[in-house]
C-alpha cells in the first residue's frame, strides 16, 4: 500500500478523484484517500475508449471485497485511452494511485472546468474537515 500523499501538480475533485491536466488532455484516477477508504481493490472494469465522460458524473466503478464505489469524472471530455493493466491487477490502484493506478485519459471538452477543481492544499483541507 502506498504512503498517504497528494501531489502538488494534480487537481482534485471533492469525490476523491484527481486529474493530471496536460493541455487539452487529462489523466484521471482516484486519490490516496479514496483507495484507503475502499480498501484493497479487487475488481475494476475499464470504460470504453470513445465514451463521453461528464464532470461530476460516475464513469466507472471500483470494487473491494466489501463494497462498490463510483468513480467520478473531475472534468468533461471523451475517453482516448484506458488503463487495461488494472483489469488484471486492480491492486495497482492501492499500490500506486497516482502512477500505475491511473484509470483513463480524456480529451477535454471544456478546459475551463479545471478552474473549478481544488489544488492539493485545498483538497488536504477538505480531508481534514471530513
Amino acid at each position: 500500500m502506498a504512503e498517504e500523499s497528494y501531489p502538488e501538480e494534480l487537481r482534485y475533485h471533492p469525490e476523491h478523484d484527481w486529474a493530471r491536466v496536460d493541455g487539452e488532455e487529462a489523466t484521471f484516477g482516484v486519490t490516496w484517500y479514496a483507495q484507503d477508504a475502499l480498501g484493497e481493490v479487487v475488481f475494476y472494469e475499464p470504460p470504453e475508449v470513445g465514451a463521453d465522460v461528464t464532470k461530476d458524473s460516475s464513469y466507472a466503478e471500483v470494487e473491494s471485497v466489501k463494497a462498490v464505489s463510483d468513480v467520478y469524472a473531475p472534468l468533461s471530455g471523451e475517453i482516448t485511452a484506458v488503463n487495461d493493466a488494472i483489469a488484471d491487477k486492480p491492486e495497482l490502484i492501492n499500490e500506486d494511485p497516482y502512477g500505475d493506478g491511473w484509470l483513463v485519459r480524456v480529451k477535454l471538452s471544456n478546459a475551463s472546468e479545471v478552474d473549478e477543481l481544488m489544488d492539493a492544499a485545498a483538497y488536504r483541507k477538505l480531508l481534514e474537515d471530513e
Binding site: G39, E40, V42, F43, E63, V65, K66
Partner: protein, 361 residues
C-alpha cells in the same frame, strides 16, 4: 441503526485501534472489519490461523429443572440430543415459521445451557426466551455482558490454543471448560469459517490477555470482513442476509436442523413447507465470468426475474464472484445457468452445490 446512537465496544476495542483496525458500525457495535486487508486475513485463516473478536455475539443462559423443555419448545432442533459438553445448531422460529435467529446452544451442565445469539437479534431473542420461560420451571438470563468471545480458526488454530490451555481441546461440536492463559474459558469446537478451530467464551476482563497470547503464539488478526468472505465460501447463512422473518427454514435450506416431532414453535409451518415445498429456495452460485455479485442484485433466467442475491462477494480462494440467492425452486439445482444483474450488467453464473469452497485434503 441510527448514526447518532452510541456504538457499543468490546473489551478489545483498544487493542483493535492500536493494531490499526478499520472499525465500522455493525449491529450496534463498533467492530474491526479488517486490519491489513480482507483477502490477506481470509488466506491466513485458510492456511494457518486467524483470531476474530466476535464479542458482539450475545449469550442467553437457560437453567432450571425444565431448561431442556423450554429450549425444546423454542429451538428447531432436537435439544434432547445435546448431552453435557455438547453443542447444537438450530433456528428460532415464530409460529408462522418465520426465522427469528440462528443459534448455537451449548449444554454446560445437566440443567444449564448457553445459547449464542446474533448481535442484531439479541434483544429480540432474549425477549422471546423470557416471554416463553413463564410456561416452564426454568430461568433465562441475559448473559451478554458476562462473555467476550474469540474465534480462533484455521488449520493451525487447535495447535495454538492447545499450547495455551490446561487440558485437551474439545472435538468438533463439543465443549470443554479449560483455563486458557489463566482465564476460565468455555472452549467450543465450533466456528463460522469452514476451517477447524475453536471458539472461546470468557469473562470480558480476561479477553485482552488471551487475545495477546494468541497473537504471540502465531494467530493472525482477522476482522469481520474476512469472517464474511470465509463463511460465504462454505455457504454458512448470515442472519439478515440469507434469512429473516419472511423466510422459513425449508426455503433457507435449513430443514436439516428442524425436528418437527419435538413440537417447537413454528413446527407446523415448517412441516407444511417441507410437505408442499416452497416457491423459492436458497442456492449458492458462482459467476462464470467477471464481476462481483452483491446483496440485492436480481437473478435472471432468460428474460424472467427469478430471484434475488442475499450474499455476494469475490471469493479469495476461488478468485470468482460467489454468492447465495433465493431463486425459483425449480432452478435451485446445481448446474443451472442463471444471470445476475449487477447494477445493470448481466453477469453469467451457475448454481453450484454446497460448499463452494472445499478444503483440499
Amino acid at each position: 441503526m441510527e448514526a447518532t446512537a452510541a456504538l457499543k465496544r468490546t473489551s478489545l476495542y483498544e487493542a483493535h485501534a492500536a493494531a490499526g483496525a478499520k472499525l465500522v458500525p455493525f449491529a450496534g457495535w463498533e467492530m474491526p472489519v479488517s486490519y491489513e486487508g480482507v483477502r490477506q486475513e481470509h488466506i491466513a485463516v485458510r492456511t494457518s490461523c486467524g483470531v476474530f473478536d466476535v464479542s458482539h455475539m450475545g449469550e442467553i443462559e437457560t437453567s432450571g429443572p425444565q431448561a431442556a423443555d423450554l429450549l425444546q419448545r423454542l429451538l428447531s432442533n432436537d435439544v434432547s440430543k445435546i448431552d453435557v459438553g455438547g453443542a447444537q445448531y438450530s433456528v428460532l422460529c415464530r409460529d408462522d415459521g418465520g426465522i427469528l435467529d440462528d443459534l448455537f446452544t451449548y449444554r454446560l451442565d445437566e440443567d444449564r445451557y448457553l445459547t449464542v445469539t446474533n448481535a442484531a437479534n439479541h434483544d429480540r431473542d432474549f425477549g422471546w426466551f423470557a416471554e416463553h420461560a413463564g410456561d416452564f420451571d426454568a430461568e433465562v438470563a441475559d448473559s451478554i455482558d458476562r462473555y467476550a468471545m474469540l474465534a480462533v480458526q484455521g488449520p493451525e488454530a487447535r495447535g495454538i490454543v492447545e499450547g495455551l490451555a490446561t487440558g485437551e481441546l474439545p472435538n468438533r461440536m463439543r465443549t470443554a471448560q479449560l483455563e486458557v492463559t489463566g482465564a476460565d474459558a468455555l472452549v467450543c469446537g465450533t466456528g463460522y469459517t469452514g476451517e477447524d478451530g475453536v471458539e472461546l467464551l470468557m469473562p470480558p476482563d480476561d479477553a485482552s490477555a488471551v487475545w495477546t497470547a494468541l497473537l504471540d503464539a502465531g494467530a493472525q488478526l482477522a476482522g469481520l470482513g474476512a469472517r464474511d468472505t470465509l463463511r460465504m465460501e462454505v455457504c454458512f447463512h448470515l442472519y439478515g442476509n440469507d434469512m429473516d422473518t419472511s423466510r422459513n427454514a425449508i426455503e433457507a435450506g435449513l430443514g436439516w436442523c428442524c425436528k418437527e416431532a419435538t413440537g417447537f414453535i413454528g413446527a407446523e409451518a415448517v412441516a407444511s413447507a417441507r410437505e408442499t415445498g416452497t416457491e423459492q429456495k436458497l442456492a449458492p452460485f458462482v459467476l462464470t465470468g467477471p464481476g462481483i455479485p452483491r446483496q440485492g442484485n436480481t437473478v435472471i433466467s432468460g428474460d424472467r426475474e427469478v430471484g434475488v442475491v442475499t450474499s455476494g462477494t469475490l471469493s479469495p480462494c476461488l478468485d470468482a464472484g460467489i454468492g447465495m440467492a433465493y431463486v425459483a425452486a425449480e432452478l435451485a439445482e446445481p448446474g443451472t445457468e442463471i444471470e445476475i444483474d449487477v447494477r445493470g450488467k448481466r453477469r453469467a453464473a451457475r448454481i453450484e452445490s454446497k460448499p463452494l469452497y472445499r478444503k483440499e485434503t
